[in-house]
């Protein structure tokens, strides 16, 4: 269909006095191609040498920035208007002069040949965003603040919990309940008042990620979940910024730098997330307290190397650390030639719904399929007796803390369930519980799909049982 494409009036001297062109197009991408075919002089301002949209071009579809729709793939409808809006930005060359006090503070850097005064000025002129002020964000932000990074952005919406203190060394016992981002910012300012610390007390989402991260040179991911990992990776690729990746679980750590300008991105490696529930998080599986110290410090190191342009940045190299053997293994990563994000013909040109992509958002249909009952109803059913089976899908260590063995519960951890379904009777009425009801929901869905006649999830899990039925059960 025919679409109207508008350019700013100032460009009219290049377009024969006109500011709009009609193009045959069914997507925003096709509309832009129509535009540069009509006025080839605009091509180099809109597309780069690889045919990708330049970072300083904004495209609006009617009233909306297409970055918040489906990017260049946003479909067009009759009478739509596509408008090109230049990014207007710039600024003076930053003169990051060091005061006498700063010279003294950073003297160990100044005497390092590969850093020196020039390197220290680069650090001062640079900015780093840290997504998640937790286990990884604690050491990375502390070391980066100490090293004299000019501006550090802390993105965290959470408050300090007692269980954080085992590894999140930014926080103290008397700060439980306080805002993580604000507490961390105060701590970093105490460590180094020369550093500007910006607090973003918000969850990073597809709506705010591009705006928040655009203000920083380097992005460190200190979060613990797949939706955020893909969100940060995608935003970094779209913004052309390096993504310093770290992850930790139990005794294992991973570290790499995804910089799509110079190497692979996270999606080159993992195009899609693992099925929900397959990879546990630290809350479920635990993590050795010192491990985030090692990996988080590694992230700070890589951010500094990237800023200082030092050799050996972990681009295209994934480091795997085993705390028990104290061995690092390295995997070489290559850019995937058909990466849907950073490849030559990307299918992902804007941010998407990451909860849905990672399967975190429970699908409504599934919710409807598996019935749920309260712990009070369960108690009544158990007391009434009858031929039922009660399945606990948590991990053995959780079972050891508290369980319902007095009602004949049997333990089959969620990850083993598929292989051990034969230990259960699919014809018998089955009740499934976990800690708070999420894993058991997935377990119940799995059983249902595998032909179990009647499966019911216990809402709230053993936590609710301890709260409302049997307070003698320890909570964790």
């Amino acid at each position: 269909m025919t679409i109207l494409v508008r350019v700013p009036g100032a460009l009219s001297e290049y377009t024969g006095g006109s500011t709009e062109v009609r193009a045959e197009a069914s997507t925003v991408r096709e509309a832009l191609h129509g535009l540069v075919e009509a006025w080839p002089v605009l091509r180099r301002h809109i597309f780069d040498d690889h045919g990708k949209l330049r970072g300083h071009v904004n495209v609006f579809l009617n009233e909306d920035d297409v970055r918040y729709r489906q990017g260049l793939d946003t479909p067009l409808r009759k009478d739509d208007v596509v408008t090109i809006v230049p990014s207007v930005a710039g600024g003076q060359t930053r003169a990051a002069e060091l005061s006498a006090h700063e010279m003294a503070r950073y003297s160990r850097h100044l005497s390092l040949p590969d850093v020196g005064l020039e390197g220290q000025q680069k650090l001062k002129a640079s900015s780093v965003a840290i997504v998640g002020a937790g286990g990884l964000g604690s050491p990375s932000s502390l070391y980066l603040a100490a090293a004299g990074i000019g501006r550090i952005g802390l993105i965290d919406f959470d408050t300090i919990d007692v269980s954080n203190l085992q590894r999140q060394v930014l926080f103290r016992s008397d700060q439980i309940g306080a805002s993580k981002a604000h507490t961390a910012a105060a701590e970093l300012k105490r460590l180094n008042p020369e550093v500007e610390v910006v607090v973003h007390e918000a969850r990073l989402t597809r709506e705010n990620a591009l705006d928040v991260l655009a203000g920083y040179d380097v992005i460190i991911d200190g979060t613990d979940n797949f939706p955020t990992r893909y969100l940060v990776n995608d935003a970094c690729v779209l913004l052309g910024k390096p993504y310093i990746y770290g992850s930790i679980l139990r005794f294992d750590g991973q570290l790499s730098v995804f910089d799509a300008q110079r190497g692979p991105c996270y999606r080159c490696l993992f195009r899609e997330p693992p099925p929900p529930g397959l990879v546990p998080n630290c809350a479920q599986a635990g993590v050795l307290g010192v491990l985030p110290g090692i990996i988080g410090a590694g992230q700070a190191l890589e951010a500094m190397k990237w800023i200082l342009d030092l050799p050996g940045v972990l681009i295209g190299r994934l480091q795997l650390f085993d705390a028990l053997t104290f061995r690092w293994r390295e995997m070489t990563l290559r850019k995937h030639p058909q990466c849907p994000l950073c490849g030559p013909n990307p299918s992902i040109t804007g941010l998407i719904d990451y909860d849905e992509f990672c399967g975190v958002k429970p699908m409504e249909t599934n919710e409807a399929q598996v019935p749920e009952i309260s712990v009070e109803e369960l108690k009544a059913r158990l007391d009434a007796g009858g031929k039922i089976q009660l399945v606990d899908v948590r991990e053995p260590f959780e079972w050891d803390i508290a369980n319902l063995s007095e009602y004949g519960a049997i333990l089959i951890p969620l990850n083993d369930l598929r292989d051990r379904l034969n230990e259960l009777d699919p014809n018998r009425e089955t009740f499934v519980y976990c800690r708070s009801g999420a894993r058991s929901q997935r377990a119940a869905e799995l059983m249902k799909e595998s032909g179990f006649k009647k499966v019911t999830n216990i809402a709230g899990g053993i936590q609710a049982w301890a709260d409302r039925i049997d307070p003698s059960k320890p909570k964790y």
Binding site: G9, Y14, H45, N58, T83, G90, G91
Partner: protein
């Protein structure tokens, strides 16, 4: 617009006053007018590091472009230089006038090949 950049005295003074007020942070705005810059529209500096950079929100520019003739943009360099930086060049578009307010006020336009800026004389009417 080719040749000199003509400013109305009011617009020129308003721009200067805004730069003085913003102190050591960069400030920015749009230059509006057809034959001459008749007025300036101060815009919020959306950059993260406002002491050494500026950025105008695409939304603000989108709204502006459809209501008035935007001839170009101005921004300040608190360090005093009025010459475009490498980043100014990186983001520059053809057609627009870019005015930089340092110790002096100078106007620039991207060369048609996009590789460099050409300076335009500034005339206050």
């Amino acid at each position: 617009m080719a040749g000199p950049v003509y400013f109305s005295a009011d617009a020129y003074e308003a721009m200067h006053a805004q730069v003085r007020r913003s102190g050591n942070e960069e400030c920015c705005g749009a230059l509006v007018g057809e034959q001459a810059i008749e007025r300036i529209i101060p815009l919020a500096n959306e950059a993260g590091d406002r002491q050494a950079s500026f950025a105008i929100s695409p939304r603000a520019l989108f709204e502006l472009e459809r209501t008035m003739p935007v001839a170009g943009f101005y921004h300040s360099h608190p360090n005093g230089t009025s010459v475009p930086s490498r980043r100014d060049l990186e983001f520059a578009w053809p057609g627009y006038v870019y005015v930089i307010v340092g110790h002096a006020i100078r106007a620039w336009k991207l060369e048609p090949d996009g590789t460099n800026f050409r300076e335009l004389p500034v005339v206050v009417q």
